[in-house]
């Protein structure tokens, strides 16, 4: 290779010249999109509480509604656009979790309901579930020991 740089030097140099991630814009958009999603959740929660449901039931039902909204918007090919603009603001709320399950399910439908939809559905959400459950167990044990 007719190169005047070592691999490390090349990596550094190419990264310096690379277009930058618009961090400020991404942060602001994540704040607004995440905020809008959470506000919608809050409105649903308030409405459910007004119907006389207990706080626990109302918040469980709110989560269900938000999952439905996330899945529905994914099915309508809208959630990927929200994610593109909102970044983590769209990924972290439960709507994003729904998106991460519904999108591979849609993508792999052609490969059949067992090896396609069934096997690939948790392609992205799988690691979140595994490590989420492991950390909840660890936190649970710590909580048990200190109380």
């Amino acid at each position: 290779m007719e190169q005047k740089r070592t691999k490390e030097e090349y990596k550094k140099w190419s990264q310096e010249l690379a277009p930058r991630t618009p961090k400020a814009r991404n942060l602001i958009m994540a704040f607004f999109i995440g905020g809008i999603i959470c506000t919608i959740g809050q409105l649903i929660l308030k409405a459910l509480l007004n119907t006389g449901l207990s706080k626990d039931d109302a918040s469980s039902l709110t989560t269900l509604f938000m999952i439905f909204i996330g899945a529905f918007l994914t099915g309508l090919n809208v959630y990927d656009d929200i994610g593109r603009i909102g970044g983590a603001g769209a990924a972290i709320p439960v709507t994003g979790f729904a998106n991460s399950i519904v999108s591979p399910a849609m993508e792999y439908k052609r490969e059949g309901y067992v090896m396609g939809v069934g096997a690939r559905m948790f392609l992205i959400a799988g690691p979140v579930l595994v490590y989420g459950i492991i950390s909840s167990i660890i936190v649970g044990i710590i909580y048990y020991l200190i109380t």
Binding site: K4, G83, G87, E107
Partner: protein, 336 residues
Amino acid sequence: MGTRLGKQTVRLDSKPVIQSWAAIVGAKEGHGPLGRFFDEIIEDEYFGEESFEKAESKFLRETLAKILMKGKVSSGDIQYIFAGDLLNQCIAANFGVRESEIPFFGLYGACSTMAESLSLGSLMVEGGFAERCVCITSSHFCSAEKQFRFPLEFGNQRPPTAQWTVTGAGGVMVGKAGDGPRVVHVTTGKIVDMGITDANDMGSAMAPAACDTITAHFRETDLPPNHYDLIVTGDLGIHGKNLCLQLLEENGITIKEFYDDCGVMIYDPQKQKTDCGGSGCACSATVLAGYILEKMSKRELNRVLFVATGALHSPISVQQGESIPAIAHAVGIEMV
């Protein structure tokens, strides 16, 4: 018979002729700056099929039919077809040429496949083993995203160095005689790996390979860079193009005025939100078969060095933390 000029370069003395060419693209490419040069624009991303993989095969199959039609030959007149794509086991090419009954060589050169197939097809004609060869390749945004990245409807953010896989297929028919652009030099690339591990930054991974092949081409042919009206790389994108220019400059090769990149040419990055530009096998193939050869046949371009670039990684190698090996093949095409 050709003449070997150096370690990587061969001069083809019979100058095989590119007798016909065709490019069929998807909607986004059709609405881009080069839209009017393509033979057909397919608005439906499924191309009437039930999967993206079948759609990609259809792009290749229809392009092959178009090349034969424009060249006024039938599939029986073709001795070899060199084809490849990005999908695992090259299924787009395998299924695309399945019914053609043409002796078939399947290639994997990632996005460099157009120059690889054109090199081999031209060498085959030069060697006297074939009267005519078809060199063709395809890619599809949706099937490539599915294989290399995330599901289409997954709401992730694209990094600014990302590129957009071109949907479509492009190809040429090279033969012994006739009018048209001729293949004069073939410079075969070697694998260059500068240790880039970010699969969202192909420009950085491939620019050194492009620089290596272009440098070898000029050293071995002894031609001055301005011998060419246009030197065009495959899919380095905006970032990689910039890197490649600077790397060449350091090797004493100044080509800024007549250098471009197919990935930069095919989309309008601001309007079409394609970040660093186009990529995929079809990126260089459709720009060659749609735009460049058309301009050459009208003699608006007389000598073109076509350098398709490829990143030879797989999703598995990336997940295992391996760096991205890259390659670039150059083909010197001239009107004589």
